[in-house]
């Protein structure tokens, strides 16, 4: 048993590894994941505020603790002690349950996240993952679909207009983007041949050798490279799913005050806040697991350092990848303005979902063709027929009629009688007298030189 540790190589857990866990090992891992999520949330809030501040050329939080890193801790401690205001029109029970659902589902989702391979924990061989089931990716999706309830019920139970609008927006948004997210994961299932998170990480350990211009090259194992379209769709859908900028329409401050949590205060608001950040961490960790090789070290490291994936080292790689993805989320928030709601929904349904479907179809054909299940003639004939069909459709697709470009005179002529007057086309705007004075005042300086 101990030879696992001394061998200094990565040991992938199997489903039996989790069945053999003793209860107190499970308890340690459970408390560990819980504490880790709380700490990571505190860290992420500070991380986000500092990065956004740096991007806006200001210092950000720098007062509490060393370099301001304890700011979120003090804020978090302050929140539960604030006065709690429950609206008179609130539906008390549902109002109470909503933040609980949000926080619970956010924590539960992390139970199937693989942080590392098999390690020696107090003399027992156990995987750095709370548990795993054959369909653990679906557990994550189930958690994210249940977390919609927290948001929607909060909006409804507040008995107020802005939260209701926020709740309605988010239910539509999260359901639509969950479809796109699920479809992007289908490609991973097809390539890995499993739905268990630990097995998906194992499947990305090494790429297949491929023949490229007569050379034997090892293809990259990461699904972010192999399944690039799925990776991009997943990243976009993940931002929509977590209600983050530029897709933060359910809590758009300039339109809906605070969105679904407008009427929440004190500890219940803290739960929503916690859930939002944990969700962000979850989708980043999930992306790491599905597309970025999970807890395994990035490609060149293992060439120089054999033991990079052994023992507790995978934690380093895993959280390094997660932090880089979180930086991406923060970067998006600092850079992009919020999208308009109808454009956002149209993008989800008319771009992301069709593109995913076509990509899955193509991938399925590619896999069948490569597996040798069909003969060479069938393969080439099918490819040819499909290519011709696609080209024919693309050529014959009815393009929208472009309206004739009218000159400005013609447009003016077409205006109905009684239209409001417009200035003449050859209008010469006289220069502003103030500009002339400013130039004159500056002039003496140039004369001196």
């Amino acid at each position: 048993m101990t030879s696992f540790v001394t061998a200094a190589t990565a040991v992938d857990p199997t489903l039996e590894t989790f069945e053999n866990d003793i209860w107190w090992i499970v308890l340690i891992k459970l408390v560990g994941v819980f504490a880790l999520l709380l700490l990571l949330t505190l860290f992420t809030i500070n991380y986000e505020r500092k990065v956004v501040a740096r991007m806006a050329v200001r210092p950000g939080p720098n007062q509490v603790g060393p370099k301001g890193w304890l700011q979120s801790l003090t804020d978090g401690l302050k929140l539960p002690f604030k006065e709690e205001i429950i609206p008179k029109t609130a539906d008390k029970v549902v109002y109470f349950i909503a933040p609980v659902i949000s926080a619970t589902t956010a924590f539960t989702a992390f139970s199937v996240m693989p942080f590392g391979g098999v390690v020696n924990m107090f003399g027992h061989q156990t995987a750095l993952q709370l548990t795993d089931v054959p369909v653990s990716v679906l557990v994550l999706l189930a958690c994210s679909s249940m977390s919609v309830y927290g948001v929607v019920l909060a909006g409804w139970a507040s008995g107020s207009t802005y939260p209701l609008l926020g709740g309605l927006r988010s239910s539509a948004q999260m359901i639509s983007y969950e479809v796109a997210m699920g479809l992007s994961i289908v490609a991973v299932f097809m390539t890995a041949g499993t739905m268990s998170t630990s097995q998906i990480v194992a499947a990305q350990a090494s790429g297949d050798p491929v023949q490229l211009f007569g050379f034997e090259v090892t293809a990259p194992g990461w699904y972010a490279v192999q399944l690039l379209p799925s990776f991009i769709i997943y990243m976009i859908a993940a931002v929509g799913e977590t209600n983050r900028a530029p897709f933060d329409l359910p809590e758009a401050e300039s339109e809906l005050v605070g969105g679904f949590h407008t009427e929440y205060s004190s500890f219940k608001f803290a739960l929503f806040f916690l859930a939002e950040y944990i969700n962000m961490i979850t989708v980043s960790a999930f992306c790491t697991t599905l597309f970025l090789g999970g807890w395994r070290a990035p490609a060149p490291i293992t060439t120089f350092w054999e033991g990079a994936n052994s023992g507790y080292w995978p934690l380093l790689w895993f959280f390094g990848k997660v932090l880089i993805l979180l930086f991406g989320f923060i970067w998006l928030r600092a850079t992009l303005p919020r999208m308009r709601y109808d454009q956002f929904m149209r993008f989800g349904w008319k771009v992301l979902i069709p593109v995913s479907l076509v990509w899955i179809l193509f991938l399925a054909f590619f896999k069948v063709a490569r597996s040798g299940a069909i003969s060479d003639t069938t393969r080439w004939v099918t490819t040819g027929v499909v290519a011709v069909l696609v080209l024919a459709i693309a050529w014959g697709w009815p393009s929208p009629k472009k309206p004739k470009q009218l000159s400005i005179e013609e447009e003016l002529h077409q205006r109905p009688p009684g239209s409001f007057p417009v200035p003449p086309m050859d209008l010469q705007v006289p220069p502003s007298p103030r500009v002339r004075r400013a130039v004159a005042e500056r002039d003496p300086v140039s004369k001196e030189v």
Binding site: P134, V135, L138, V139, L141, S145, Y149, M195
Partner: protein
């Protein structure tokens, strides 16, 4: 008969009672949204039942599709209807409620005893063989080979229903009803219409209420500054009294 383990029995009694409580709550709740939430509890428990009966895929798909998507759409509609829309409790048919209860219990008893007698001594056969290549693979190979036609027909039916509903619900505006910018501008600058924005209510001047009108130069309240949906009301004695928070 396969032996039922203690763990499974414990899980059955906990989840089973929760599922039944959820079902009863759904029928008995006055508020439509509460009914929907009770149904969510029942569906979640059914999902867990699938999981402990070694059908994890089915269980989680039940949670994602039924609990996550379908019930969410129900809630969506119920929320749009409004939160005060609860059913009236007046019986339109005399004795209908008692008859419904009796018939319901009778039907449940009939189904329960029927199932118990029919399946009470049935062995589970071939479960391991069906799951030999994994639960998901087993389901997939059945769905995409033996039942592929039924599967496709069902999906075609569902798509037809969805498209039909969209066509029925979609209202196309006639071209004449669309008012262009010139007409809207003419309406706005029509004599008798004030084209500027409405004044805001007199909040913060001497009251925090949006129901307080803004002042005109002659000291009268500006009617246009208050939203017409605001009910005109006087504060009650209790509301007007100091809250005890002022120092």
């Amino acid at each position: 008969m396969n032996a039922v383990s203690t763990g499974e029995q414990v899980a059955f009694w906990i989840l089973g009672s929760l599922a039944v409580i959820g079902a009863l709550g759904m029928v008995l709740a006055r508020n439509a949204v509460h009914s929907a939430l009770w149904l969510v509890v029942t569906m979640l428990n059914l999902g867990f039942f699938y999981v402990i009966n070694s059908a994890p895929f089915l269980g989680f798909v039940q949670i994602i599709v039924y609990t996550g998507a379908i019930m969410m759409l129900f809630l969506f509609v119920l929320m749009l209807v409004g939160r005060d829309a609860s059913d009236s409790l007046i019986e339109t048919l005399r004795g209908q409620r008692i008859a419904a209860i009796v018939l319901g219990i009778g039907f449940a008893a009939l189904i329960g005893t029927g199932l118990a007698r029919a399946l009470g001594s049935t062995f589970t056969v071939g479960l391991d063989k069906a799951n030999a290549n994994g639960n998901v693979e087993g389901l997939a190979s059945l769905l995409f080979t033996k039942y592929v036609f039924a599967f496709e027909v069902t999906s075609a039916l569902l798509i037809t229903a969805a498209v039909g509903a969209m066509i029925l619900a979609h209202v196309e505006k006639a071209k004449e009803d669309k008012r262009d910018q010139v007409t809207r501008m003419k309406e706005r600058f029509r004599p008798g219409n004030y084209p500027g924005p409405k004044p805001g209510p007199g909040i913060y001047a001497n009251t925090m209420s949006v129901a307080a009108p803004a002042r005109l130069p002659d000291g009268n309240g500006a009617e246009r500054s208050i939203s017409p949906i605001l009910p005109v009301r006087e504060l009650s004695q209790a509301e007007a009294a100091p809250k005890g928070t002022e120092k």
